[in-house]
């Protein structure tokens, strides 16, 4: 007879695993990736490939040679970081800039804190912000999407960039909007300049719904970001529509959808309770709008997420689950 296994209860385990959760995130990103590759062509594919490959290799090398512990590449978290980083970059980014971003994301933001689960800041966002402040020229050179594998792309500004620029020159928001030809339809269905993650709101939303259905994430953080952005921008817009953009514009442009659905909901760097998540989301929404309206950068999503990341331990301390039998 074979030897009996003995272990403490429970004796059954769900089929959840870190790898499965990460795989679901990758699957959820696929529609947006497909759209961006279709619109930006092989350049975008190159950015994606370099980013993912560098993230995975850097994590592998660090765990193997510096930390000398079992590798964690198998859990696919580095792949997710790589994909998200790439989706935050313009398709024109040179490969070595992408590599630098990956190095910062994995090497500094993730592994110096102890690897998956220990990092305070979202690695992909930290990587993007690092590149934004280090290589601003590469990071703001956007290309207008030019259809399937088009070669003669023209560079242009993102809607948010155009607004910021226009306002500085004294134009009003509606004027800039009509001059740029920005319609909400095109924001929803991929037709504006930006990074892969900004191009198609609808593709990202499909992925978000997939994550919700698979119960990978809960909607609290995302919805509270949207709610805050809508409410706060509504107030400003009603006060002065010529200076402030409207709620719909704010929800559909920039990294709003990508950030709120995929980056702010990162397990490791978001609060663990639902109430905490709502506060976290309100903070992100508010800071984003403040940067968009009053800051010197056209877009503030990344900064907002990073700032709120730093508050997560505090939020986790404030909000606890409702305990049974304890009023």
């Amino acid at each position: 007879m074979n030897k009996l296994l003995v272990s403490p209860s429970p004796h059954l385990h769900s089929d959840l695993s870190t790898k499965r959760l990460m795989r679901d995130v990758v699957i959820a990103l696929l529609p947006a990736i497909a759209v961006s590759v279709v619109f930006y062509g092989w350049k975008e594919l190159l950015v994606l490939a370099v980013s993912v490959l560098s993230c995975v290799c850097i994590e592998y090398l660090i765990t193997k040679y510096m930390l000398k512990r079992p590798g964690t590449v198998g859990d696919l978290s580095a792949v997710v970081t790589g994909l998200l980083l790439a989706m935050n970059l313009p398709s024109t980014t040179p490969w070595w800039v992408v590599f630098m971003g990956a190095l910062f994301a994995i090497g500094v933001t993730k592994m110096t804190f102890g690897g998956l689960g220990q990092n305070v800041f979202n690695p992909a966002i930290a990587g993007r912000v690092f590149l934004l402040v280090s290589f601003p020229t590469y990071m703001t050179r956007w290309e207008m999407p030019k259809g399937l594998f088009g070669v003669d792309a023209v560079s242009g500004a993102t809607p948010l960039g155009a607004i910021k620029e226009g306002l500085l020159q004294g134009a009003s928001v509606p004027d800039i909007m009509s001059a740029g030809g920005y319609s909400y339809g095109s924001m929803l269905f991929a037709n504006l300049g930006g990074s892969a993650g900004e191009i198609s709101a609808i593709a990202l939303l499909i992925g978000f719904v997939y994550l919700l259905v698979r119960k990978v994430i809960k909607p609290h953080i995302t919805l509270s970001i949207w709610g805050t952005v809508a409410l706060v921008s509504l107030i400003f817009w009603l006060c002065d529509p010529s200076r402030f953009t409207n709620p719909l514009f704010n929800l559909l442009t920039g990294g709003m959808i990508l950030g709120s659905c995929f980056m702010a909901t990162d397990y490791v760097t978001s609060p663990m309770t639902e109430k905490g998540g709502i506060l976290f989301g309100v903070g992100i929404g508010f800071i984003t709008l403040m940067i968009r309206y009053f800051g010197s950068y056209p877009e503030g999503m990344s900064f907002a997420i990073l700032i709120m990341n730093a508050f997560v331990p505090l939020i986790n301390n404030w909000f606890h689950h409702k305990k049974y039998g304890r009023a």
């Binding site: 296994l5 059954l12 385990h13 870190t18 978290s77």
Partner: protein, 467 residues
């Protein structure tokens, strides 16, 4: 209307009730039984037989060793072979009475006929005495002596009796069969307990994955209620299927929307919870004079060709039951006494069953082997699953860091060890394994504090008397 369930956490494991169609069979009496004297929570019973004594089935072989303790009866007729330490299912020595079986002779007064006796005495002291003498303990898992639970402390009033027919553990089906095959007995037992407690309402809570039970029990309850006023006030409540619905605190929350405060007892919120099997045992003891000498257990597992629900004499070796059920299959990797969520893994198959054994589950390596531990990704799935609203990831870290005061602040002592956290962790962390040790430490601190407070109070009292 959506069905009731508890308000915090919970999980939905596959219920795997593959033995639900198997009617209860009576397992032949084994040649030798091993009756442990520690089959209940509380003080072990004291053996009152000596080697060489002839005993009959139903005869007392051990007496309560304290207030919280229970009588133990010989489940068979035969000769006492030895009284001494024997290894239990986890390999630790327990004082055990070994009885070699000879025939099947019962003590006088036990009614073995299948007739259902519906009329029961009005005198509660008679009933309580029969429950005590019958060695009845809670059969839902905790094996708490029933007579203690049915005597609420002074000043506490029971408002509702909850009969737990949830059977939220996957695989187990013996309660399901009880409610199909022995519904009348269960309802009569419920009425008896209800009368003892002096409570107007009794609810039989059944999860909605057992619709046949709900329908049948409703019919039986209606039939008996029409026959006598003693059966008024009993109702059947269908519950939403969710683990751990059958946990005492969770069930009270689900049925009454009240929560027992930390460290409190169900009676504090006016509830008493008894298991379906306990209600049946009460029926047997009161109406049939039959002490608790056998119980029903599910023998199941996906790797077993045939599943069973067996009525087994207490003290039957587990190996004997498995052999009768067709032997241990080649693929078997783990034998569990009880359900897969809270049952205990058996390390010694020669160990005998006890009053609380509710099932023997055989799992394969693939089903039960733990995946290698990885890093916590702070997903919070453990705290979403925790039915007590605790934060297992935090308790896990605090225990590892040996921070006992912080563990108490974060309510480690409230853990009911249901296993939801470990079940749902995507990083496969041994959350409950570690939290259990932390809980024990906190409980130790709390007990020491209570003892110190008691001693101080007594000292103060003594000095006052001296003055």
């Amino acid at each position: 209307m959506s069905k009731r369930t508890f308000s915090i956490g919970g999980i939905h494991p596959h219920d795997s009730k593959i033995s639900r169609e198997c009617a209860i069979e009576t397992l032949p009496v084994p040649p030798v039984v091993y009756v442990s004297v520690s089959q209940h929570i509380g003080a072990p019973a004291k053996p009152v037989v000596a080697v060489g004594d002839k005993v009959k089935a139903g005869q007392v072989v051990a007496e309560p060793g304290g207030f919280v303790s229970a009588f133990i009866h010989s489940p068979v007729s035969g000769t006492v072979k030895s009284v001494g330490p024997r290894k239990d299912l986890s390999g630790n020595n327990q004082n055990t009475i070994e009885i070699a079986v000879e025939g099947d002779e019962w003590v006088e007064g036990v009614d073995l006929s299948p007739e259902i006796v519906t009329g029961f005495p009005d005198d509660n002291s008679v009933i309580m005495d029969k429950i005590r003498q019958g060695g009845i303990v809670g059969l839902g898992g905790a094996t708490f002596p029933t007579q203690v639970k049915l005597a609420p402390p002074p000043g506490k009033k029971c408002e509702m009796l909850i009969i737990n027919g949830c059977e939220c553990e996957p695989y187990l089906t013996c309660n399901y069969r009880y409610m199909l095959e022995r519904a009348e007995q269960v309802v009569i037992g419920t009425a008896i307990i209800k009368q003892v407690l002096g409570v107007g309402k009794a609810t039989i809570a059944i999860e909605d994955n057992k619709p046949e039970d709900i329908a049948h029990m409703e019919k039986v309850v209606a039939g008996l209620a029409a026959s006598s006023a003693k059966y008024a006030g009993i109702s059947v409540m269908a519950m939403q299927t969710k683990y751990p619905e059958g946990g005492e605190k969770q069930l009270i929350d689900a049925v009454m929307h009240r929560q027992v405060r930390s460290g409190g007892l169900p009676i504090d919120v006016g509830a008493v919870v008894q298991n379906v099997a306990t209600a049946f045992a009460v029926y047997e003891a009161v109406q049939k004079n039959k002490p608790l000498v056998s119980n029903t257990m599910t023998v199941t597992g996906d790797c077993l060709p045939v599943q069973h629900n067996y009525e087994v004499r207490i003290g039957t070796p587990i190996s004997y039951i498995i052999e009768k059920a067709g032997g241990l299959p080649e693929a078997a990797a783990k034998v569990i006494s009880g359900g897969p969520m809270m049952g205990k893994a058996v390390s010694n198959l020669d160990a005998a069953t006890v009053k609380g054994t509710s099932g023997i589950l055989i799992l394969t390596e693939e089903q039960t082997r733990r995946a290698p531990e990885t890093h916590c990704i702070r997903c919070g799935k453990c705290s979403d699953a925790c039915p007590m609203g605790l934060e297992p990831f935090l308790l896990f870290r605090l225990t590892k860091a040996d921070m006992v005061p912080e563990l108490e602040d974060n309510a480690a002592q409230d853990c009911i060890e249901c296993g939801c956290c470990l079940y749902s962790c995507p990083a496969h962390l041994p959350l409950l394994d570690i939290i259990r040790t932390g809980k024990q430490q906190v409980m130790g601190v709390i007990r020491a504090r209570a003892a110190a407070a008691k001693a101080a109070a007594e000292a103060a009292k003594a000095s006052q008397v001296a003055k």
